[in-house]
């Protein structure tokens, strides 16, 4: 089978989010199918600045076709149209389409390629419903389109244009049951066939947590945050809660941050920012920490939470995010908090009971091993393709009666 992936940006250097999910699924599928990725020349998710040349390259055995971008993202325009779409109840469908164009990355060449060449592929997977390539591209190949929405419960998903859009693909791959429920709630009518696939974690061999701690001068036990240090990821709340928690408690515990900074980090003796780390170092940080903190209010799937459980570490997550709450409850792998009282109580409990902390980590690990091996994920994808695409293809090729 020949499979194409359509995604707004694609690079080996992107190690999180929907882009990482897409890359790993593409790489795993390439072992059994001919896989190509159709993407843009951008790497920067804020401006869509061109970082790669248009053309064809190969990344980890997968052919990647890059198409140039018409315009970089105009941040002023994007903020304006976001305010209109999210705060003005009288906004129109045209405003929402304008929001998709302003969100970008706008690549008419990529759309043109899908329009002319979609018959070269048996199935096309479109990643992330909110971006220009997936929103407009899916309409060009709806009969063989599988959508991977990566939808979060933020204002964008409630825009009216998506109510019909979510019904257009031949099938949908969801990352969690909560995401399936959310998309089902906003879509007008029944959804196409779908599967909930999650994600499988690959742990690098021979990790050395002690060497990692020595390298970064980490002398105290620490809580770990991994991801973009950003308001949208709940980091401002985490800083506020942690500084207040440290002021009231005497526990000898630091907060270590791993990831690129898009928000000022408080100058606090117990908060340490290590910057961007390699994949190996990220896993060493997970091995070395007491627990992982995940404060994000919007997630369609938190890969780093799965990675923490894969390492046998427990998590303390934002319970206002239905996905994180659902994952924690299903796996019995971690606790969650809705407010400062619960944050303090949860942290006190986990730090005071190392045996229970370890048991929660083991429970998360066992749940991951039972449900989210690559074989499980691939089996579900193949099953959906068989259910959604092959009947549609057979219908197209059957002679008219």
């Amino acid at each position: 089978m020949k499979i194409a992936f359509v995604i707004h940006r694609y690079a080996e250097t992107i190690v999180g989010g929907s882009e990482f999910h897409c890359r790993r699924i593409a790489e795993e599928l390439s072992a059994r199918h001919a896989v190509e990725v159709l993407t843009t020349t951008a790497e920067d998710y804020v401006t869509w600045k061109e970082s790669f040349a248009p053309g064809v390259e190969t990344i980890n055995g997968v052919t990647v076709r890059r198409f140039k971008i018409k315009n970089r993202r105009n941040l002023v325009r994007f903020k304006e149209i976001s305010d209109v779409c999210f705060h003005n109840p009288a906004h129109t469908a045209e405003d929402e389409l304008e929001w998709i164009r302003a969100n970008g990355p706008e690549s008419p060449d990529l759309l043109d390629f899908i329009r002319k060449r979609h018959s070269d592929y048996d199935v096309i997977l479109f990643y992330s419903y909110r971006y220009y390539p997936s929103y407009f591209g899916l309409g060009e190949a709806a009969g063989k389109a599988i959508l991977v929405p990566t939808a979060e419960e933020d204002p964008a998903v409630y825009m009216t244009i998506f109510a019909d859009y979510f019904r257009r693909p031949a099938g949908i791959l969801f990352l969690t049951p909560e995401e399936r429920d959310l998309v089902g709630k906003v879509a007008h009518g029944d959804l196409p066939p779908s599967e909930v696939i999650g994600f499988a974690v690959d742990i690098p061999p021979s990790l050395d947590a002690e060497a990692f701690k020595a390298r970064h001068g980490l002398r105290h036990p620490f809580l770990l945050y991994v991801g973009r240090i950003d308001r949208n990821k709940g980091c401002d709340g985490l800083f506020h809660y942690f500084t207040e928690y440290s002021r009231r408690r005497t526990e000898d515990v630091d907060l270590v941050l791993v990831g690129t900074k898009a928000l000022d980090i408080p100058n606090h003796t117990r908060i340490k920012h290590l910057g961007f780390l390699t994949d190996r170092e990220k896993f060493e940080a997970l091995q070395a920490c007491e627990l992982l903190i995940m404060p994000s209010p919007y997630e369609s799937l938190s890969i780093v939470v799965l990675e923490a459980w894969a390492m046998g570490k427990t998590t303390l997550a934002n319970g206002l995010c239905k996905v994180l709450r659902g994952q924690s409850r299903r796996s019995n792998g971690g606790l969650f908090f809705d407010n400062f009282s619960e944050f303090c109580e949860g942290l006190d409990f986990l730090l005071a009971h190392p045996d229970i902390r370890a048991a929660l980590g083991r429970s998360g690990q066992a749940w991951l091993q039972a449900n989210f091996q690559w074989s499980h994920v691939m089996e579900k994808i193949e099953r959906l393709i068989a259910a959604a695409i092959k009947p549609a293809a057979a219908e197209r090729s059957s002679p008219p009666r």
């Binding site: 109840p89 308001r231 606790l335 400062f340």
Partner: protein
């Protein structure tokens, strides 16, 4: 099952729902005894107030957050241009958006700035209102506690048995 037995059980078989229930009970106990509760609410409020004053785009105040109010009370900072007149209407809309709107933009931006200041002020006032509501709640609770303590200290009347 007593607390020690529960904790022992969770060392081998942790149940997240049960642990969260246990933590919630501890928080409720502290609330009932008044330990730290005001302080924690203040921290929560402080967080929301900081967010509001930082001009977060979603701009939710604590009051709005807790009361689940709709956004209808918000100022409309952008002109709303829409039509129900089909093609002709869309042409007029295009003229308004692309030809009339740009030169008038500097005036609109001037108004927008003032409206944004008003919006900011509204949100700050909502937070002050919240503080007043909370203070009122704390005072009521204190009065109730004092009244209860006072009633317990009142000596028994003639013919009444002494209180235990």
């Amino acid at each position: 099952m007593d607390e020690t037995a529960l904790l022992d059980q969770w060392k081998t078989n942790p149940r997240v729902d049960d642990i969260m229930g246990y933590l919630q009970k501890r928080i409720d106990d502290r609330r009932r005894s008044g330990i730290l509760y005001d302080d924690e609410i203040r921290t929560e409020l402080g967080f929301w107030l900081t967010e509001v004053l930082a001009g977060r785009p979603s701009g939710e105040s604590t009051l709005q957050h807790y009361l689940s109010m709709t956004g209808e009370w918000r100022l409309q900072l952008h002109p709303s241009l829409s039509t129900h007149r089909g093609l002709i209407g869309r042409i007029f809309l295009w003229i308004k958006k692309r030809i009339l709107y740009p030169p008038l933009r500097w005036i609109i931006e001037q108004n927008e700035m003032n409206a944004a200041r008003q919006d900011h002020l509204n949100l700050s006032l909502l937070n002050i209102l919240e503080e007043t509501i909370l203070e009122n709640g704390r005072l009521k609770a204190r009065v109730a506690r004092l009244e209860k303590a006072s009633a317990e200290r009142t000596p028994p009347g003639p013919g009444e048995p002494p209180q235990p």
